[in-house]
């Protein structure tokens, strides 16, 4: 029997009672799965904590589900909407595109554009052959005829490539010319390379056309016995302004295109102006055809736009300055932002289901490891009920979705100071490669991943999962430690997600007295940040429970809230660096990168910001002198001695993993007090790169005083306040010793105070001190 495995996802990450959610499941080795709705309470199996806790809940979808194998279309491409088959050209034709290939040496065929059926050898296409040469081929349903350029294409160099073909004479001529300038390509003009290649060949037959073949850009139609039609032979790299003409263009015509001219008006059949349609707020995935038939090309799996084009001059560094230089669309054969699986089951959320974090638990066969899946979703209240709100950092879950740093990033072991601990689930996902990458990974051609979505199984957004590189829970399962504490304390808490906050803004937060974040709310959109800032300024009370939060500026497409975009650049602890000129989000037109580099350092909202990370040990906090001040002494009330958080599920203490520090120079509110700070971090804790102007020896835990977690508190207008733990590990410290520990005690003091609608404690101690001591 085949190995039994089950993976799935839901169409939504946040639902209200009465709303419908659909589940999409792929299963190997079984045709039935046991489905059970569960409420997730705790997800860390560490021996020092309460272990995994879930509560089975009656639900309309519980029972046995019929499941089957489902296939995933990998790779981004453009599909042209051509119902009248205008592009099934029987006469003369010319194809052209500017390209910037990235994977010519891989030894595989790539299609740039064409109406081609790989399985049946029918149609025509311009592409790159396995030897890395430009090739134009036609098929008559049996045989293939082709013409190949003389010289191989070079990676990361802009070319104008094309072909003119006249079936009457059978003559097909390749046009390949380099269009690199001082900025747009990997290399410059000092290299003696010759780029031009013009080869002609007399074809022996004319292409035949099948009605079902789509015209694709960056892919070709293929067929599989079980799967049916799909797209293969993907192109990796950028394509700019592809076009098709209905006559065999001359060399002179092409030379004019090379100068930036439009294809000849009288013969153009379709001209996809990849630079058209930009607004100040970005651009969508669809590409406009300015030709006579308006054959719009639809983007699948988010081809990356807002990328520099063939004519980028190196001066205008944003598409908002000159969209015409931003016609580059980048394609990746291994990108997936929507698995597009059939619906396996659907459920209307029961009206009486309290707000919380839920999952559809699916089990086949042994029901453990890869034979068990949790499809996680948040049930938000129909109307706000509690005074406490847990803001689920779903944007950050997306950023880390299916990360595989342990397998691919050689920096992960020096960074974490330990060998990774991987499980069968990690190996299965890595080997399978069909559930997509995180924004911490690279595509196979080395480009960083900038789109991530939840319309695919996310193995690390599950209870019990441990991030292999660090061997601790991370993001979702780590946040469950806070959820378990809230549950243990018996607070009446509502759960909402980043997605809800992004969509609805401030209004969603105002009903609550206190909002508590996850352990690592690292990725935030402008609307999320605005809402939280307005909430605090308007009298809201925010508890920032983590480290390295409010860090990356991200965007969501208006019609695709399930898909998030981020570009990593300039500075910050980053897995990759966006190329010059490609620093702006296609989804919103904003500059991505760190909020700090956009004038909104996290210190301005929370009082603290990222300072260091380290992964093998953690340290406790010790009360700072200000903790005795009566304005804040209530926070540490009941803590014996000065040490706080000396236990925890993440390396044994509360201050660890990623740490935040108070910094007036970055906008920490001037009246902020440091309640407690950690210290004595090992040399695996290193200073973050955005703090670095000059690098020098000794920027490590035992040698740099800045490397610490600061627990801070300040009051805001209208009785608002912000309390920060300044450490990711704080959340994982809460369940230690049966929730009876100093970290949990401090947090309880704060939450209890924040939940009360009246004035905050200690406010009356605000006169200038006149001291005898």
């Amino acid at each position: 029997m085949a190995q039994q495995k089950i993976f799935g996802y839901a169409n939504r990450i946040s639902v209200k009672p009465g709303e419908e959610i659909t589940f999409h499941v792929n299963c190997d080795g079984a045709s039935e799965a046991k489905a059970q709705l569960v409420q997730l309470i705790h997800g860390d199996t560490h021996k020092d904590g309460p272990g995994h806790i879930e509560r089975e809940v009656d639900g309309p979808a519980n029972g046995t589900w019929q499941v089957k194998k489902q296939f995933t279309q990998l790779g981004s491409f453009l599909e042209v909407d051509d119902p009248q088959q205008k592009l099934a050209v029987t006469g003369a034709l010319s194809l052209m595109a500017f390209i910037w290939p990235t994977r010519t040496k891989k030894g595989i065929r790539q299609t740039i554009l064409g109406r081609w059926d790989t399985f049946r050898n029918a149609g025509y296409a311009l592409g790159i052959n396995p030897a890395g040469h430009l090739e134009f081929w036609v098929g008559d349903g049996k045989e293939v005829d082709y013409v190949t350029a003389e010289l191989p294409l070079l990676d990361k160099v802009w070319y104008l490539v094309g072909v003119s073909y006249d079936p009457a004479t059978g003559r097909a001529e390749i046009y390949q010319e380099g269009v690199l300038n001082r900025y747009n390509s990997l290399i410059g003009k000092v290299v003696p390379y010759e780029f031009a290649s013009h080869t002609s060949q007399k074809f022996r037959f004319k292409p035949s056309h099948l009605p079902a073949t789509p015209f694709l850009i960056a892919g070709a139609r293929d067929q599989h016995e079980l799967r049916g039609p799909f797209v293969s032979d993907h192109f990796a790299g950028k394509i700019d302004r592809p076009a098709i003409c209905m006559r065999a263009l001359s060399r002179k015509d092409f030379d004019e295109l090379k100068q930036g001219a439009l294809p000849p008006k009288d013969s153009v059949l379709a001209y996809w102006d990849t630079a058209a349609g930009y607004t100040a707020d970005g651009i969508g995935p669809d590409v406009i055809d300015t030709g006579p038939h308006g054959l719009t090309a639809r983007g699948v799996n988010h081809p990356v736009r807002a990328m520099t084009g063939w004519n980028w001059n190196g001066r205008d560094d944003c598409f908002r300055l000159d969209p015409s230089q931003y016609g580059g669309i980048e394609f990746h054969p291994d990108s997936v932002t929507d698995c597009r699986w059939e619906v396996t089951s659907r459920m209307t959320v029961p009206e009486n289901l309290p707000s919380g974090i839920y999952a559809m638990r699916l089990r086949v066969g042994p029901g453990t490891g890869i034979a068990e899946e949790y499809i996680v979703f948040v049930v938000r209240p129909r109307t706000p009920k509690g005074k406490l709100c847990f803001l689920v950092p779903s944007a950050s879950y997306l950023a880390y979705a299916n990360e595989m740093l342990s397998f691919e990033a050689h920096i992960i072991q020096p960074m974490t100071g330990q060998p990774p601990v991987v499980t069968d689930l990690d190996i299965e996902t890595y080997e399978h490669g069909e559930y997509g990458l995180s924004t911490y990974d690279h595509f196979e051609d080395g480009a960083g991943v900038c789109f991530t979505s939840y319309l695919r199984p996310i193995i690390n957004m599950r209870p019990k999962h441990r991030m292999s590189g660090m061997n601790v829970t991370w993001q979702f399962p780590a946040d469950l430690s806070i959820v378990a504490w809230i549950d243990h304390m018996g607070y009446d808490c509502d759960f909402i997600t980043d997605e809800d906050l992004h969509r609805e803004g401030l209004d969603i937060l105002t009903p609550y007295n206190c909002v508590i974040t996850g352990t690592h709310p690292e990725y935030v959109s402008e609307r999320m940040l605005d809402a939280q800032e307005d909430y605090v300024a308007g009298g809201g009370r925010l508890i920032y429970m983590g480290g390295n939060g409010y860090y990356w500026a991200v965007g969501f497409a208006g019609d695709n809230p399930e898909c998030m975009e981020v570009r990593k650049l300039d500075s910050g602890m980053r897995a990759w660096a966006a190329r010059p000129g490609e620093h702006y989000l296609q989804t919103t037109g904003e500059k991505s990168g760190l909020w700090r580099n956009r004038g909104r350092a996290p210190q301005k909202l929370t009082g603290v910001g990222f300072i260091a990370e380290g992964f093998e040990t953690a340290a406790p906090y010790r009360k700072m002198p200000d903790a005795w001040h009566r304005t804040v002494s209530w926070i540490t009330k009941g803590v014996e001695g000065e040490i706080i958080g000396d236990q925890g599920l993440a390396y044994g203490a509360a201050a660890g993993v990623e740490l935040d520090r108070y910094d007036l120079s970055l906008g920490t509110p001037p009246h902020t007090k440091i309640i407690a700070s950690s210290g004595g971090h090992s040399d695996n804790y290193v200073l973050v790169t955005e703090e670095l102007l000059y690098a020098y020896a000794g920027l490590v835990g035992s040698l740099d005083y800045r490397i610490r977690a600061d627990m801070t508190y300040f009051t805001a207008p209208n009785n608002g306040a912000v309390f920060c733990t300044g450490s990711i590990g704080y959340g994982q410290a809460l369940p230690a010793n049966g929730f009876d520990n100093s970290a949990a005690k401090v947090l309880a003091n704060v939450v209890n105070a924040f939940l009360k609608s009246e004035r905050l404690p200690g406010q009356q101690w605000s006169l200038e001190e006149k001291q005898w001591r």
């Binding site: 003389e150 010289l151 390379y193 013009h198 050689h410 340290a619 971090h681 090992s682």
Partner: protein, 552 residues
Amino acid sequence: MSDATTPKTYRWKNPLSAWETTTGNDEADSITVADPAMPWQASKGFKVETHPVGRLKYFVVWPAHGARTWDRARWWPTRRNFLNIKGLYNRKTAVAEKKILDRKPIYWLLCLIALALGPILFPENQTNALLTAGATFGIFAAINVCWTLIIGTASIFSLATYAVVGTAAFVTSFLSIQYGVPWYFLMPAGALIGLAFGVLIAIPALRLDGFYYALLTLGLNELFRVFFTTSKQFGSASGGLYGADSFINPDWEPLTQSYVAYYAAFGLLVASLFLFRFINGKRLGRVLRMAPEKREAFAAACGVDYKRARITIFLATSTALGFIGGFYAAQYRGVAYSIFDFQTVLLGLAMVTIGGIGRAEGAVLGTLVVIFLRDVLIEFGPIRYLIIGAAMLAVVLFLNNGYFGIRKQFNAWRAKKRGEWRSTRAEKGGELLPEEATEIDDKDHLYFRRYDKMQRDYLKTLIKPEIIEEHRRQPLGQHSEALERVLLYFRRAKMEDKYALRSAGPHGPYKIIAFSGTRGVSPRLVDDREFVTLDEAYHGVFMRRVHDLLES
């Protein structure tokens, strides 16, 4: 080692001890560390002699077409271009060049032109003898090209080739003499006979292994010889059958007759070469290259119907051989029994072997050598046969696949010698030698190898029981400088074969694995040892890395 570099033990104090965050590693026995620049000072050159490398450009390399249009011509009616030319960038100069990937068509063309123009260049006194020998060469070369299709491409070890040719020649001669069949019918008739013969002996080829099949076909050859020499109708009295119709008019001048015979045989050879090309170079040949001898089962499992392909080739070739038999009868007005002689078979085998089995050029060259020795150097006397035997023996003894296999064999031999030389000169994991550097495009890698070697030489001096014990007690956290340096090196290793742990359950037991460094390829299990606790497992990984370091 001098005092400065000999590590001394001392008691290391954890800088975090004041904070009480040392996680149990307040202090530890450790060793002093020497200056990390030590190996750089100790090693200032290669330990072996270095030689200049590079190959002189002693022939013309054509530049690529660049902006000029390159109109490519094809072999009508195929899609194959006249020459398989590829453009590439010279790795030393980055200049675009042309390379002819397959120069064989040029050589073939030159050789065929030489054969076509040969008669003009023959010395006058020997013209007739050479034309006669040339005609014989043409026919035998055609036969051998067909034969090499059977032995080489189809891997059927048949020795009945001359039996097919002979039978077709005898029967067609007989038809011509008895029934006055004109010469132009002899070849198609011969082809039919060849096909019938092929069908007859194809069946046992499916059931018998190589050696037994060779014996069987040899037996058939003998059987036919005895049949024809003893049968009256086939001229047992005259040593052969003569008087068939011919395309060579006996009224022509003798020299004209010789010319016609020569060019007719030349035409036959060219036709056989086309046959070879269309079988060996197309689908059938490709299918069978998937199914070489002793690997048939694998090919069959891949869906290759190798038996059908082999038999198809066998039948097509037998038909061609029959055609040649008819041609033979028409050219020589009949045929002698000597065609069935064991000597003929052996000489044919010599021709095929000398050039290299399975190649048309091998069959042609072998035939040329043998025919030249036998029919042109007649004054050498019987010693000719000794020379042929010696040539064949030499080929069998020293060459893997005849004269035309020499190049490949030489390259393989050179590669072997290169490997031997390098193994005596290069240090495992050490710096790359000038000759190895030529093969690496990323020159950064050359420096990495130098750096890595120095680093390892240095770190080896730090592997002492003290730091191993320190790591065993406390795998994670702050460590003494000696241990920290070793760990930092270990952690920075490349992804390929980098160690990690695999946990069977949520918290162990653990086994050591190594990553592939290739996307989508699972890590491999390093060994079966199981660790119960995580700290033991971390230490297991450490010990493995120490072992690898000391081994390198």
